[in-house]
């Protein structure tokens, strides 16, 4: 097949769904107008451990407009089949209203169904639950950790013992919540034993399988619709209990039920980035070459489920370290289960490694950029595999140049601007390139427009737009002639929109599908005696602006419309997909070099980021404007992680103290200075057919340590705890 010119891919398009969103016409989960729907509001537990001894629902039930109150006392038994498909971690997931046990603070204990949302809310506040509370353990330090994973190469202890320079540090990272703008919510509607769910999700197939498992019905009986998602950052990768509650309530009521979580409830049952305690020891020679790294990360999980995230990858592959040991522990607490949050595992680990690298650089008097370059590996030491592409060196070189790193005075506390101490810092970012099986369907209509679909989701990165771009070029159509649809289980299957795998996977599936469709049209033309293309080798035909033509003789050709009309066809269609190879002989990661400049008020301890630059090695950039949205969003998220975000638990009773957006601080516009993203011009075909390496997760990794290192450079104070607040710097 002749390669198609790339016109849409690589051009800075605005979101194709942007107008819908800014004019309020994009329907998010609970926005859908489902006739006859009633409203449900969840009642949460106000203890973290124990059991329910009584539930008085009489006040709620007698309130006008309240239709029903469902609790474990009147709820039907649910099947809860095992379900390995829906990102459920190992363990026993929470089963809604099946018993009187309380496992964590904010656990749903009842649901109130009413004619209006206001009535349901008031009804929920009238439900009087009594408990027998036991002392919960919610503090990471409160229980010993259970070993989850180990890794070792070489002899780390011996290498540490004989290292010329050694560092032994302990890091503490606060729990963070995803806090998407759109709260989680679901509408459930039954038709016999068939269930339709309008849900906020990054994985419609995950919700479909979980709902089927909970109710013990065939997977095909569940349809999940999720065309728009107002942000998620990972929180919608699982099917949380409220989805089952909505479906349960709808079944009990015999009519559709709408259920949205409140902002407060968003801190209880939809996951979070776990709190970490991380001991890191490293050894190096005097030239700064690492000889050993010993990692002992510990993070929190729930008592009922064992959460896993990618905490160990970076320590194994990021630098050229011959001796590595890792012991990952989890601490099981009386809390809800964590869930992957942007740059999961990598963001947390990178903070520890990259701050330690900065300390090493300082101790040895080596420039922090130079130190990283000295530790560049030539292959992935964890697998022995070569890198598909690894251009971290270029990231640092370009970044140093553009950021003006060369002008930096390495001495801490050497630069002042009025009351502010100014410092710069740098860190490496890295995230693995994942791919998964994905399918797509494309249909070319007689009018010369196309519809392409796949059951992907778009939680904000701009999947609608980027897939449209890939499809438009593959079909030789203008962007406005192609419509991409997603977010419905009736569409061909797609993986979750997480772990930055969607572009590579669904993008490759869309490419394959549209290539097939184009080829079908080309074959039809070259085999059609009435076509000007009759007899031409299919390989010599390209499609440009909806016109099939001989590559070297563009005058010879015809349009899709002419071709289909003459053949009396209403449309052509094709199915395609992408299956990653069972084994890839490469180590595949995206990389970045992150540079930050901060000001620290010398007396008041306030930290404000002054500018930031990241340079990415992320393969091909399909949609530069959307890539910038991702990059800036990632940097902003990183500023939050570094300086503000902190879910606080009161360990006396396991209560989350700051379960609202006034007390859980995220950056506001005034905190965001000049941010800049540069992408190395790349194309990694070893990673996947469209040459991308994933961006959405990578952009968060390395930001917090770059800021922390800049704070050290500004003040001479090394902080090993996130977030970095004024009290650490006074």
């Amino acid at each position: 097949m002749s390669p198609q010119p790339q016109k849409a891919v690589g051009s800075p398009l605005s979101r194709v769904d942007g107008r819908l969103k800014v004019t309020g016409q994009a329907d998010y989960a609970v926005d859908h107008d489902v006739p006859g729907a009633v409203h449900a509001v969840v009642v949460d537990s106000s203890i973290a451990l124990g059991r329910i001894t009584g539930i008085d629902t009489s006040a709620a039930e007698s309130h006008p407009g309240v239709l029903k109150v469902i609790t474990h006392r009147n709820a039907p038994r649910l099947v809860y089949r095992d379900n390995p498909v829906s990102n459920n971690p190992r363990g026993r997931r929470l089963r809604v209203f099946q018993d009187d046990q309380i496992l964590f603070f904010g656990q749903p204990v009842a649901v109130v169904v009413a004619t209006t949302i206001e009535t349901a809310q008031h009804g929920a506040s009238l439900v009087d639950v009594s408990y027998e509370a036991r002392q919960p353990t919610t503090d990471l330090a409160g229980r010993p950790g259970d070993p989850l994973l180990n890794y070792a190469r070489g002899d780390t202890e011996a290498a540490l013992a004989s290292a010329a320079v050694r560092l032994d540090r302990e890091f503490h990272l606060a729990r963070n919540h995803h806090n998407p703008m759109e709260p989680h919510g679901t509408i459930a509607s039954w038709d016999g034993d068939k269930l339709t769910l309008w849900d906020k999700t990054q994985y419609v197939i995950g919700v479909q399988n979980e709902a089927a498992a909970v109710f013990g019905i065939p997977v095909e009986n569940v349809r999940v619709i999720s065309p728009f998602v107002g942000g998620a950052f990972g929180s919608a990768l699982r099917t949380w209990p409220h989805v089952a509650i909505a479906a349960l309530a709808a079944r009990e009521m015999g009519c559709p039920v709408k259920l949205a979580l409140s902002r407060r409830q968003m801190y209880f049952t939809v996951g979070y980035r776990p709190r970490y305690q991380y001991r890191l020891r490293l050894g190096a020679d005097r030239q700064g070459r690492l000889t050993a790294m010993a990692h002992e990360p510990t993070y929190e999980t729930s008592n009922h489920e064992t959460f896993w995230e990618a905490t160990l990858f970076l320590g194994q592959m990021l630098y050229n370290v011959p001796n590595v040991s890792q012991t990952l522990r989890t601490v099981s607490l009386d809390v809800n289960t964590p869930l992957w949050m942007r740059g999961p595992g990598f963001s947390s680990t990178s903070f520890c490694i990259e701050v330690a690298m900065d300390e090493l650089a300082h101790e040895l008097g080596i420039d922090p950029v130079e130190l990283r370059l000295r530790n560049e590996p030539t292959k992935d030491l964890s697998t022995g595999l070569p890198f598909s592409t690894r251009r971290l060196r270029e990231c640092f070189q370009t970044g140093a140049q553009e950021f003006g790193w060369g002008r930096r005075n390495p001495k801490p506390r050497s630069t002042r601007d009025g009351d502010w101490l100014v410092g710069t810092g740098v860190a490496t970012g890295c995230y693995d390139t994942r791919r998964a099986r994905a399918e797509a369907h494309a249909r070319l209509d007689a009018g010369g427009t196309a519809v392409v679909q796949s059951a992907a989701s778009d939680a904000g990165p701009g999947t609608y737009t980027s897939m449209t771009q890939v499809a438009a070029d593959a079909l030789g159509l203008a962007v406005r002639e192609v419509e991409f649809r997603l977010g419905d289980t009736t569409m061909p299957p797609a993986p979750p929109q997480g772990a930055s795998q969607l572009m590579a996977s669904v993008g490759s599936a869309v490419q394959d599908t549209c290539d097939k469709l184009r080829l079908q049209a080309i074959r039809l033309a070259v085999g059609d005696q009435r076509s000007p293309l009759h007899g031409v080798r299919p390989d010599d035909v390209v499609v440009i602006a909806g016109r099939l033509q001989v590559k070297d003789k563009p005058a010879r050709g015809e349009t899709y419309r002419q071709l289909l009309a003459r053949n009396n066809l209403t449309h052509l269609e094709a199915n395609g997909g992408y299956t990653p190879p069972a084994e890839t002989p490469y180590s595949m990661y995206g990389y970045s070099a992150v540079f930050a400049e901060v000001g620290v008020d010398a007396r008041l301890g306030l930290v404000r980021v002054r500018r930031m630059l990241s340079v990415y090695d992320a393969g091909r950039i399909i949609s530069p404007k959307l890539a910038d949205s991702q990059a800036l969003g990632g940097m902003i998220g990183g500023i939050g992680m570094a300086l503000l975000e902190h879910t606080v638990t009161d360990h006396r009773d396991g209560r989350i103290v700051n379960a609202n957006l006034a007390d859980y601080l995220v950056p506001v516009n005034a905190d965001i200075p000049e941010l800049r993203a540069i992408y190395l011009d790349g194309d990694d075909r070893k990673a996947d057919p469209i040459g991308v390496k994933g961006l959405g997760e990578l952009v968060k990794v390395g930001v917090a340590p770059a800021i922390a290192n800049a704070v050290f450079h500004a003040t001479g104070r090394r902080v090993h705890e996130l977030p970095i607040t004024a009290e650490a710097l006074l």
Binding site: A659, N660, A726
Partner: protein, 326 residues
Amino acid sequence: MYPFSYTRASDLRTALRAGADGGRYVAGGTTLVDLMRETVERPGTLVDISGLPLREVTATKGGGLRIGALMRMAEIAAHPTVRALYPVISQALELSASAQLRNMATIGGNVMQRPRCTYFRDVTAACNRREPGTGCGAREGFNRTHAILGTSEQCVATHPSDVAVAFAALEATVHLLGPAGERTVAFADFLLRPGSTPQREQDLRPGELITAVEIPAQPRPLRSGYLKVRDRQSYEFALTSAAVALHVRAGVIRSAKVAAGGVGTVPWKLSAVEQRLIGARPSEALWAQAAEVAAEGAHPLAHNGFKVELLKRTVERQLRVVGGTR
């Protein structure tokens, strides 16, 4: 939210009557409605006073100001007379909340706002202010943002207002109108420390309405300003803050008005700091020496010990900003 009835008062008399009947005044609604949603507040009747004619800034004799209780925060901040005479007031307002809130919120409501303590606002937590006798969740809980001054066994919540700190510094008076007529209360006496009755937050009798806040005339020239220290650059309550107004004549400080926010259960007047300033000549050393006593009497809790030092530094900084360096 509990069901409630709603009436709009067309004039002061109907407002007072509805207030006397147990109605709860609502002005901008920016904080009362929030608290009703959280069921912290459960008024049976709301009396909307936003249409009452209490929306003027008037200059009083000698350079004082009278600010109508229903003036919006944004209106006051932008008011030319306020900006010219009392930058400390407009700055405190501009550093409060968000533009949207400032467009709705009134000065009466601002002074009356209730604590931001998360235990107070979480109806499942213990709180003596919300439910007397249930205990204080914050005292032994997470209290990073709580008060270090004016606390009691019963309560450690700060008064959250910024502009009230400026009012406290400038020794404002509160004009009240109630069933029994008009009265005025010194600002320092209007907002109450929690003591053993934390549920009593103001010296306000049933049915009484704030009609205005009055700033007494100050000796001129007067330089003033407000500094707010917080984790993020905007849209957050103060960790610490300082309102400072100085009158310097012939190189000597003749009048000093200083108060701090974010640290007290009420806006905290820093008389000891003022005493060290009056009669002295502005200098870096003086600012430091005066600020040294800013946290006198502080009782830090487990997580807010840093506020002691931060308060001193905040006051020192703002003295320098307003009083100038050397």
